[in-house]
């Protein structure tokens, strides 16, 4: 295990979206704590890092990651995936409860925490299953799971069909002020589909998933959130109509937040042309207009956070005809670079972009992370925004299922510090 760091980072552009700080400064970490940010700091014992021309950001917070462990026949390990996270500047991962077994017992929570601790590359913040086994029948022991370290509750991609059970689950979660995380998708309306129901899927003859599969479930969830007063966060919005529903809900004063995957901001349905199964994801990539609406939602804050929607898959998962491939993109390795790509293309203002991968997801999930706070254990990353990389060459996730492997992308990570310890260092 790494010792706590003593670092003096010199002349970095320090950008902390939470406080609005954006200035060239020095940053001192002593015994793992972020001691000071200021001009011309001095610390004789600390290791000097010359950061001229580099950006110093809070450690990234990824609000939606599927863990490979525990699980059978899954690709990668907590070690491999958290290492990929650290190399990507990510310090905090919010993990969905659809592990195998699911996160519905303290034993599973403990196992994840212990393995993550042993690997030592990132802080994993597990979500508890809302219902036992994600079956949508019986409540999981939410308060116990919270005490074991779960930060939120969710039924992941397994929709709770019974509205009464869902209502009671939300009321119970609200009792303990636990945020409930939804992944809106109606099972029947999406059944059998593998691509956005639209012109591309029609031409390719791929069974479609209409946008209404998402909005019908989102609308139900929003009404129940309103009725129960629970704090809610929505994962993986994919269409313009969802952004509109959320904007309306926020205007009504509902306590709701949302994220979108970086892939839905960069790609649309045309990415699956030629049956490109690397772009087979769930929810599917939708129309150009949907993509533009999601981007607008991020710009105006309707959509709070941007996630990697990380799903590492083995080599054989994508080796099949498109409909038989498994959906998902391994996203930890490229989250930061792809967000910087959006900034470089002038599609997203820098401060909002960085907020969406640091302070905003932490805010959504009610955790203390994603900001540079003096006096606390340091979680930060130092990046070279002007360097470029070819992801295939420095890839670390065990899942190589990514459409970006051979695309030159901006931004390399020089140093990552997670809760006071150096988790990534490159020269």
């Amino acid at each position: 295990m790494q010792p706590r760091a003593d670092l003096l980072i010199r002349k970095a552009r320090v950008i902390d979206p939470a406080s609005g700080r954006d200035e060239v400064a020095d940053l001192l970490v002593e015994d793992g704590r972020l001691l000071r940010i200021g001009a011309s700091l001095d610390a004789p014992g600390a290791e000097l890092v010359d950061a001229e021309g580099l950006w110093l950001l809070p450690g990234l917070v990824d609000s939606c990651v599927r863990l490979p462990e525990p699980g059978n026949h899954r690709t990668g390990s907590l070690h491999s995936e958290t290492r990929a996270a650290a190399a990507g500047g990510i310090t905090h991962l919010c993990a969905t409860p659809d592990t195998d077994p699911v996160i519905d017992s303290t034993a599973v929570v403990r196992l994840i925490r212990e393995r993550a601790m042993k690997a030592g590359f990132a802080r994993i913040m597990p979500m508890a299953a809302l219902t036992q086994g994600l079956q949508g029948q019986q409540l999981a022991e939410l308060a116990t799971l919270r005490d074991a370290g779960c930060i939120a509750v969710s039924n992941a991609g397994h929709r709770v069909q019974d509205a009464l059970i869902l209502k009671r689950s939300l009321e119970y979660a609200a009792t303990f002020d636990l945020p409930v995380v939804f992944r809106p998708q109606d099972a029947a309306l999406s059944s059998g589909g593998c691509a956005h129901e639209g012109p591309v899927a029609t031409r390719l003859g791929l069974p479609g998933i209409p946008s209404v599969a998402e909005t019908v479930d989102l609308a139900r969830a929003l009404l129940l959130v309103e009725a129960t007063g629970v704090r809610a966060h929505f994962h993986q919005l994919s269409c313009a109509a969802s952004v509109a529903l959320l904007r309306h809900a926020k205007a009504q004063g509902l306590n709701v937040t949302a994220d979108v995957s970086i892939h839905h901001l960069l790609l649309d349905e045309s990415a699956i042309e030629g049956f490109n199964s690397f772009c087979h994801i769930s929810p599917p990539l939708r129309s150009r207009a949907d993509r533009d609406a999601l981007m607008q939602g991020v710009i105006d804050g309707t959509v709070d956070a941007i996630s990697s929607q990380h799903i590492p898959l083995g080599g054989s998962a994508k080796l099949a005809p498109f409909p038989s491939t498994r959906p998902g993109i391994s996203g930890l390795d490229t989250l930061l670079s792809l967000v910087l790509e959006l900034v470089q293309r002038d599609q997203l203002p820098l401060r909002r972009a960085l907020d969406a991968i640091t302070a905003a997801p932490a805010r959504c999930l009610g955790v203390s992370a994603g900001r540079l706070e003096e006096g606390r254990l340091a979680s930060l990353c130092l990046i070279d925004p002007n360097a470029t990389r070819l992801p295939a060459e420095d890839w670390l996730s065990a899942g190589r299922n990514s459409p970006w492997l051979d695309t030159e992308l901006p931004g390399t990570v020089r140093l990552t510090v997670c809760e006071g310890k150096v988790t990534w260092l490159s020269d």
């Binding site: 012109p199 029609t202 031409r203 791929l206």
Partner: protein, 337 residues
């Protein structure tokens, strides 16, 4: 939507010859016309005492059917044999590939048997594209129907039939009726008709059987059969699968027939010389009345005859396209196997 690519490296060689036949989309009009012209020269091979030409002598054609279809497989087999090829039929229930042997492993094994051509039928849209991308470049891939995506040889035999009876495509109005949603045949027909210059392609059916944004493929949409049939020169009825009633796409066969079934009365809307086509096998009294299927405007049985000639044309063109390609690549590659 996105413009169609002018060249399709997966399907065409550098000098524009056919190397795989995966879908109509992306092929230039000249290639489609060449298929029709070559098919014409093969039609009378079937009438000879010795029904064989030696174009594929010494070649091995593997019929790789992941989805059962005796009819289509038989026409491909006959076509290959008339071209003097050796034919291997492999019927694979889809579960076989999940029993440990992946699709890729199976392809490697077949390639090792020095196969020259795979004729692929698969329930997944895009399966032939996938195989074409991953198979060794020496093997030609012909799509014999993939999911809802494409059935290009069926579409070409339909084009052959239309040209045979109508002389060409200019000025033609064509109506396709019924279950467009699940139909790979309809998708391929729509592409072919538009590339070959038909004046108008119409699709007719209830909204449950028409896929989203179908008009992007270059068709006009009708929900009323009589309106849709008005003045058309070619009427294509599609087969309606019985399971469509199970998923609330339709209430009953009889209501479908009442609204969209072809009968003589309705056909009065069409042009007096209109021909009636159907990819088969037909459901009498569901999508088509017997009086129409067996009537004098029906060309359904001729379609079957032309099917063998069109498949012979496609197979021989893919094989010769590859041979020129390999010759031009130089001796090293040509003798690699």
């Amino acid at each position: 939507m996105t413009a169609e690519p002018s060249t399709d490296p997966l399907q065409l060689t550098g000098d524009g010859q056919l190397r795989n036949f995966l879908s109509i989309e992306g092929l230039p009009r000249s290639v489609l016309e060449q298929i029709l012209d070559n098919a014409a020269s093969f039609v009378d091979v079937g009438d000879r005492a010795i029904k064989k030409v030696p174009l594929l002598r010494g070649k091995t054609v593997v019929n790789l059917f992941f989805e059962a279809s005796t009819r289509t497989r038989t026409t491909f087999e006959l076509a290959a044999k008339r071209l003097s090829a050796d034919v291997l039929n492999i019927d694979i229930a889809r579960s076989a590939t999940s029993k440990g042997e992946s699709l890729m492993d199976m392809l490697r094994n077949l390639e090792a048997m020095a196969s020259d051509m795979f004729v692929v039928r698969h329930a997944d849209s895009g399966a032939p594209h996938y195989i074409a991308r991953h198979a060794t470049p020496e093997v030609a891939i012909i799509n014999a129907g993939d999911g809802r995506h494409a059935h290009p040889t069926q579409a070409m035999l339909d084009m052959y039939t239309i040209r045979h009876y109508k002389g060409g495509f200019a000025g033609l109005k064509v109506a396709i009726i019924g279950d467009i949603l699940h139909s790979r045949v309809a998708r391929s027909q729509i592409h072919a008709l538009n590339i070959l210059g038909a004046e108008e392609v119409r699709v007719i059916g209830p909204r449950t059987l028409l896929p989203a944004d179908i008009e992007h493929l270059g068709v006009s949409v009708y929900h009323d059969l009589s309106q849709g049939l008005r003045d058309v020169d070619v009427v294509i009825a599609l087969r309606l699968q019985k399971e469509r009633m199970d998923s609330a796409l339709l209430p009953s066969e009889s209501e479908f027939f009442r609204l969209y079934g072809l009968n003589n009365e309705r056909l009065r809307q069409a042009h007096p010389d209109a021909i009636i086509m159907h990819p088969g096998p037909i459901n009498r009294g569901v999508e088509i009345a017997s009086e129409v299927a067996d009537g004098e405007r029906s060309v359904i049985l001729h379609q079957v005859t032309f099917g063998i000639a069109v498949r012979m044309a496609v197979m021989s063109m893919c094989m010769s396209g590859r041979e020129t390609e390999q010759r031009s690549r130089g001796g090293d590659h040509a003798t690699a196997r």
